[in-house]
């Protein structure tokens, strides 16, 4: 007793878990709320402001829907939005198509030792810099680069820089993000179910279609959230391998920087947010969010 009397703070904290919890949470929550949540809320507010075209200052006194009107009525923004969603959808479909067989091999066929190696082999490029990966594809697809050289041997023409290159590069960059959740999902599908299906006479194709895929759906959707969301927000890859093409991210960047129109940039940035929220709302019921 005497000892703990010399440590009033410690005793107080011991007595009151709620005080302990409050002290633990105060700083990190203040940081996340003040830096991030306030910034996101401010983004929404800024979307209703405008920039004075003469002084370049942001006019915070007048609120209007002008930016949203520009966004909906201007054909350029509509086209860029459609193109961005198209690229994100293509990347997602390609990644799922590649990830499914790979993840299946890793989870259900490879030996435990080989499995560990394969997971590390898939994880390592995930952590190599995003920028370096886009740059690597610039080198590979360049004039006189690897693809042109290898294509010359095989008789295939290099796609060069453009939208197909953007889709290839993005599919490449996000592939590990799609493989890993699908692999984790497949590991959770019990082998006994597959054996039972086989014993009851189901062909492999039927077992995959009626047992594996339904169980795997949340994991697949979890993977698509990554590839879709990350592609929607890209603007670096399209600069590096996309030729003259633009995506939503480019419009945000140009308006925030060179065009000095932060309010319009904020409005455009709401487009990927809304698209992602709609997507998340659609897939929420599948239980995909617990697989992230």
């Amino acid at each position: 007793m005497e000892r703990s009397d010399r440590r009033p703070v410690s005793r107080l904290l011991h007595r009151w878990p709620a005080v302990r919890l409050t002290l633990l949470l105060a700083t990190p929550l203040a940081w996340l709320l003040l830096v991030y949540v306030v910034a996101l809320a401010a983004l929404l507010v800024t979307a209703f402001w405008s920039t004075d075209s003469l002084s370049g200052e942001i006019d915070k006194s007048t609120w209007s829907l002008d930016n949203f009107r520009t966004l909906f009525e201007n054909e350029v923004y509509r086209n860029v939005t459609l193109r961005t969603v198209g690229v994100a959808a293509a990347v997602t479909v390609i990644d799922v198509a590649i990830a499914l067989p790979i993840a299946f091999y890793m989870a259900k066929m490879a030996s435990p030792r080989a499995r560990r190696w394969l997971v590390v082999a898939v994880l390592t490029p995930l952590w190599a810099s995003y920028l370096v990966k886009a740059f690597a594809w610039r080198a590979v697809l360049s004039e006189g680069g690897l693809v042109e050289w290898a294509g010359g041997v095989l008789g295939i023409e290099s796609p060069g820089y453009g939208l197909p290159a953007v889709i290839m590069t993005q599919a490449y960059i996000w592939l590990p993000y799609v493989i890993l959740p699908i692999y984790a999902g497949l590991e959770r599908v019990p082998n006994s179910l597959l054996e039972a299906a086989g014993d009851l006479g189901a062909s492999n194709g039927r077992a995959v279609r009626t047992i594996v895929l339904p169980l795997l759906l949340p994991a697949i959707i979890a993977g698509t959230i990554f590839s879709f969301s990350l592609t929607l927000g890209d603007y670096i890859t399209v600069n590096i391998v996309g030729g003259a093409n633009q995506m939503l991210g480019n419009l945000v960047y140009v308006n925030a920087g060179a065009a000095n129109n932060l309010p319009l940039a904020a409005t455009i940035a709401l487009v990927p947010i809304v698209i992602m929220l709609v997507y998340l709302a659609i897939v929420r019921r599948t239980g995909a969010l617990e697989n992230l």
Partner: protein
């Protein structure tokens, strides 16, 4: 369900091919950093270490490396403190709004980079009226690095359970003594792993950085982006890209060995 040998072989070959495609572009960058031909045509006919020497001599590269190291160290430090506090809070207490806090930690990295970037840039410039600098990059990076430390701390504390901490309290240790002598030693390698991941994440981040870096502060990825389109600098960019690969992959390998499981890396 039994698989024919053909199916197994086909899938094994497909897996091998995909892994090959995953690594070839990165290996091309490594090879190009030794390619004597400045236009980097393929295949390289002659090898040279000239570009590596040029990169080492370049003041711009050295400055960018130093900026990146400063940013990554500061962001990691902040992320370590905040991530540990959150990790302890969420794994040792249950309270109203816990899952919201969890979502809040993941959000900065789950939303597209452009959104996080423009939100922070807008917050700094239009709302706070702060000039962009090295410090705005640090704040931005720390915000999305919290999640890596948080994940590692939370996973470790869940696995350890709270028995030792309760025993320590029963034996008369105060709250701080228990943290110092019981909780912290258990967390040490998880913190190192989380810190290494945060460092790697910050070191090669580009999208949020382009929005939150002012004219003055140039990180290594920004240096690459600015010099990529200059034919004269192209060979040196290759060298810097290789350095970036090494500097982001090595901490990951270390972190993976420390945390002992690959799940922590996601």
């Amino acid at each position: 369900m039994t698989f024919s040998t053909t199916t197994r072989r086909l899938l094994a070959v497909a897996t091998g091919l995909v892994l090959l495609v995953m690594y070839v572009p990165l290996l091309v960058v490594v090879a190009n950093s030794f390619n004597a031909n400045q236009a980097m045509t393929w295949p390289p006919t002659d090898l040279t270490v000239e570009w590596w020497g040029k990169a080492a001599d370049s003041a711009g590269v050295r400055e960018a490396v130093w900026t990146s190291v400063q940013v990554a160290l500061l962001a990691t430090l902040i992320a370590l403190v905040l991530g540990t506090l959150l990790g302890v809070a969420l794994s040792r207490y249950s309270f109203f709004g816990r899952s919201s806090v969890n979502l809040l930690v993941i959000l900065p990295i789950a939303l597209p980079g452009v959104v996080t970037g423009i939100a922070l840039a807008n917050g700094f410039r239009a709302i706070l009226g702060v000039d962009l600098s090295l410090w705005t990059i640090v704040v931005a990076h720390a915000t999305f690095c919290i999640v890596t430390v948080f994940n590692n701390v939370q996973a470790r504390l869940r696995r350890m359970g709270g028995n030792l901490e309760e025993a320590s309290a029963d034996l008369g240790a105060g709250v701080f003594m228990t943290f110092r002598l019981v909780t912290f030693p258990q967390l040490r390698s998880a913190l190192l792993a989380g810190g290494l991941l945060a460092f790697a994440l910050s070191f090669d981040e580009i999208i949020v950085t382009t929005f939150t870096a002012g004219g003055g502060a140039k990180t290594l990825p920004i240096w690459i982006l600015e010099n990529m389109f200059r034919p004269i600098q192209a060979p040196v960019v290759n060298v810097v890209a290789v350095m970036l690969i090494i500097l982001s992959v090595v901490p990951i390998w270390l972190a993976q060995r420390l945390s002992g499981d690959t799940d922590a890396l996601r």
